[in-house]
């Protein structure tokens, strides 16, 4: 590979008080590819995502963007680096409506610096339409009254409105219906084709095998292995997830039993 | 027709026999916390005087809030009063009320507290500096300290927001500071508040166990001082002052734990003020016996000033016989009934 990966993590450690959640994790995501991040429940996927997003600070290790190590002090810095994230816990302001949530922090304004509600409303509706959400009555509805899947759709739609270099989706289809899931996977591929580095966290192996170019497997806070999609079978990935190793892939036998919890 | 009463030096300037067109008088009282008088003695007496003078009186109490007093004044002016008695919470808000009244041609009388810079037509009061002087003098006469060559004393003053408190302090300080052999060990405010006074005095006593006298500005706070002294077995051995002749204060005077209290019979103020109001409403312009100089404007405010009485064990029954406090309030328990009777207070 001649160019640097869009995002590279090296030796990332993260603990919460006495709890070690991530231990020297390495991970790469390339532009134009979908990189899946999989792992058992509690393996540390969301924590890793939050470290990239500046929600958590890493205890040790490097975050390298386009070859340059950076500290991501907060979500603002992450955004400036072109990182856009759909968090697993969605993070919507219940007291605001769909449009307001979708443009939160990036509201459009008129020349008079007042909010350009009309433009935002149109764009928001368009974004939702592309995700096939048919039951949303009005984009002026408060998100508090949305169904689980509708909330998820709003969060996803929010993230694709912007030109980002890295889009991270933490279990974006968990609450989605069949059709909506298809749309999101299609969206993921489309983003990658546009040159975005997409990171997809998912438990759905079918989806992962379908769209991913590369797969990173977290096992109890360690990166068991990061492999190319075409080099592995679904069974191998599942083995990596549940045991930390599969054949000569993954952690050494000692590592996989003694992994930090 | 209303005939002016001559016994208070208020003389009529014109003998009108026509009934007054307006018989409404507004009375603005300040608060409920600094002294019980604003809740009991004053309104009772004022109401009685109003009835005697065939006046319609509206009595309001501002609960310590200048804003409330302002709105009460507006309401009274809206109700059409012709004379407004003001016990201000401070000179500033008092002045605002008086200028408001003036705008609407309502005559104001400063009652008990002088509104510095105000425009009241009269001032009816006790002389607060005199009250303070009496307190100081009476304290030096207390049996616990009388004749002692060296006396250590501490002071607990009233609320710094109350101009009267400053005047009381001016009075007693003028006496005590000149008293030979008297040393002031500490000086704090009790804010007219029992709990504050108690905390303050607890610490004072801890710091200065050799206190002989406590110059405390009124009975409410004196009670707290006595509580603390009693816990130390010192009640009755340290001279304690007071003011207002409250039921509790009189109890303490009888029990010998408080040296004296200052009795300011409201009649001295209320009777004069209401008669004055009646005369004003009748179109007269009475001449006051004296004047008091407004400290800010230098205006000589026509004034009626009454003299306070020092109450010691010797004349402790006086406020009860006057009807200023009831015997029931002073003697609520069997033990106190005995004490009362021994001191000449007769149960009804």
């Amino acid at each position: 590979m001649t160019s640097d990966p869009t995002l590279e993590l090296r030796g990332v450690d993260k603990s919460f008080g006495p709890v070690h959640v991530l231990s020297s994790v390495n991970f790469t995501a390339n532009a134009g590819e979908v990189t899946a991040l999989v792992g058992d429940n509690g393996a540390g996927k969301s924590t890793l995502v939050k470290c990239i997003g500046g929600i958590h600070q890493v205890d040790a290790g490097e975050l390298i963007f386009d070859g340059t190590p950076r500290t991501v002090a907060g979500p603002r810095e992450a955004a400036l680096l072109g990182v856009e994230i759909v968090y697993q816990d969605l993070a919507l302001a219940d007291n605001l409506d769909i449009v307001q949530n979708m443009f939160l922090g990036r509201e459009e304004v008129t020349r008079l610096r007042t909010l350009n509600e009309n433009s935002m409303e149109k764009l928001a509706r368009h974004a939702l339409d592309t995700l096939s959400v048919r039951t949303v009555r009005s984009v002026r509805q408060r998100v508090a009254s949305l169904s689980g899947g509708q909330r998820q759709t709003v969060a996803i739609a929010k993230s694709v409105l912007w030109q980002s270099k890295i889009v991270i989706l933490d279990e974006p289809t968990a609450a989605l219906g069949v059709v909506q899931t298809e749309q999101v996977l299609e969206l993921v591929r489309r983003l990658a084709e546009q040159g975005v580095a997409v990171i997809l966290v998912s438990h759905n192996m079918n989806d992962v095998m379908k769209v991913a170019d590369s797969i990173g497997v977290l096992f109890l806070g360690r990166m068991a292995d990061q492999v190319r999609r075409k080099d592995v079978t679904q069974t191998q990935v599942v083995e990596l997830m549940t045991a930390g190793r599969s054949g000569d892939l993954g952690l050494s036998p000692e590592e996989s039993t003694g992994a930090a919890v | 027709g209303l005939t002016a009463c001559g016994n208070n030096n208020a003389s009529s300037s014109g003998g009108s026999s026509a009934p007054p067109a307006n018989t409404k008088v507004g009375i603005l009282l300040p608060d409920t916390a600094t002294s019980p008088r604003w809740v009991s003695a004053d309104p009772t007496e004022l109401r009685k005087q109003c009835a005697d003078n065939k006046l319609t009186c509206y009595i309001d109490n501002a609960n310590g809030s200048a804003t409330t007093q302002q709105s009460q004044a507006q309401a009274l002016i809206n109700a059409g009063v012709g004379v407004l008695l003001v016990v201000n919470l401070d000179s500033g808000s008092g002045k605002a009320i008086e200028s408001l009244a003036q705008q609407h041609n309502v005559v104001t009388i400063d009652y008990d507290r002088l509104t510095a810079g105000g425009s009241a037509a009269y001032y009816v009061s006790y002389d607060n500096v005199k009250v303070g002087e009496d307190q100081g003098t009476a304290l030096t006469q207390a049996s616990e300290v009388k004749g002692k060559p060296a006396v250590n004393y501490v002071e607990i003053d009233g609320a710094p927001t109350d101009n009267n408190a400053a005047q009381f302090a001016q009075g007693y300080n003028s006496v005590l500071s000149k008293q030979p052999g008297w040393t002031k060990l500490a000086d704090q405010t009790g804010n007219w508040d029992a709990a504050t006074a108690q905390t303050v005095f607890t610490t004072m006593l801890g710091q200065h166990p050799n206190i002989n006298a406590v110059m405390v500005a009124n009975d409410t706070m004196a009670q707290s001082v006595i509580n603390v002294l009693r816990a130390q077995g010192l009640a009755g051995k340290v001279a304690v002052s007071g003011q207002d002749a409250t039921a509790g204060g009189l109890d303490n005077v009888m029990a010998g734990t408080q040296a004296f209290t200052i009795y300011k019979p409201v009649a001295g103020e209320a009777d004069v003020a209401i008669k004055l109001a009646a005369q004003i409403l009748a179109g007269q312009k009475p001449t006051a016996p004296t004047t008091v100089k407004d400290p800010t404007t230098g205006r000589e405010v026509p004034a009626y000033l009454a003299d306070p009485t020092v109450i010691t064990k010797a004349n402790v029954a006086l406020p009860v016989t006057d009807g200023y406090v009831t015997a029931a309030a002073v003697c609520p328990t069997p033990a106190l009934v005995q004490l009362c009777e021994a001191n000449g207070i007769k149960m009804p």
Binding site: P75, A79, A91, L92, D94, N95, L96, Q100, G105, E107, V109, R113, L115, N118, S119, E121, K122, H126, D129, R134, V136, R137, R140 | L29, W38, V39, P43, T44, Y58, D60, N61, A62, S65, T67, T68, Q70, S71, Q72, Q74, A75, I77, N78, A79, L89, D90, S91, G92, S93, K95, A96, S99, Q103, H104, N105, P160, T161, D162, N163, A166, T296
Partner: protein, 428 residues
Amino acid sequence: MSAQTDDLVKQDQRGPDAPSEGLGALGAYIKDYFGRVRGGELGSIPALVGLIVITAVFSLVHQGFLSAYNLEALVIQAAPIIVMAMGLVFVLLLGEIDLSAGTTGGLCSAITAVLILRHGASWWLGLIVGLVVGLLIGFGMGWLRARIGIPSFVITLATFLAFQGVTLILIGGQGSVILPDNSPLIKLENSFVPLWLGWVLLALVVVGYAAIKINDALGRRRSGLSRPPFTVIAAKVAVLAVLGAVFTYEMGVNRNLSTNAFFNNKAQGMPWVVVLLVILFAVWNFVLTRTRYGRHVYAVGGNDEASRRAGIVVSRIRISVFVICSGMAAVSGIIAASLLQSVQSNAGAGNTLLLAVGAAVIGGTSLFGGHGRIIDAVLGGLVVAVIINGMSDLIQGANSAGYEWVVTGAVLLLAAGFDAVVRRSRAT
């Protein structure tokens, strides 16, 4: 955009053929409005109804409650409460509290007064210094909250106490500082807008309101979005115009009750503070509803973690609301000083703050953050002022203070209870 979706989101967007005027559109609009009300989006209805009911009751039991004189008294008494409540709305929107707003107001007005009176400053210099101190205080408290992480209850409890002390020290033992008679500061609450100017200002307000509403509607039409029928806009403008005209007319009546033939000075026209109130309302309402900043205030109040993740600098928003609140508290303190023509050494202490917070809450602002509007401060402040004013004349006599407290508490509870019962339909 698929046709199907268009169908399903038809409430959002009307095709060019859909009637956006005429009886049909009006009917749909009204039906939708009542649907929303039934669904719990009550807006100002409870506070408004409460205000009307209390006013009606007081004017029944109490002759002259609605006289021009008392109406003016009401307005000038309500002004400091409303202004303080407006500032508090910002703090409450973030789920914070400022217990010291009252004493901050007291302190700032004390500074202004002392500067003018004891140091010979001109009134505007005193005013500016007072306001700036207010803003700095807010900044300090906001900083302690946002950066150090002390709970705002404790910070503002500490400043509530401390500022009382500072004011006391400043004003000293005299109990109050009296503003000069001719000071423009006194004029705010005690001088009146000339009658003709009152009508001109009213016209400006009505025309401005109409222009904004129409412009909004046209903008939405241009963008192909649904918009309220013009009949509705016209109706709203008409209501505003009529209410404004009634008020302006009432305030034009000579309020001087004096029958005395010697004086002939009239008291007529609305107090200048009304103009200030209108301006403050317009400005803050604009800020909250039409700027990014306002949007971010709501967002942080609704979900501060989500806001942080959206790149909003939460600490900056948090500090800013304290600055606004303390600044408005300073304005409120100065209005109160204008009302009393003086500053007390205990200015802003006592129940000042509690009543202002009560006003915002009765108006509909939540203490838990995320929900509140500037109109809440206005309506709630009027409710509180009506209660206090109505009360101050209702009960007389020896223990009047005690009974007034009791009745004030009871009426407050009734107002809030009414409000709650109306709103409760929201909960299923």
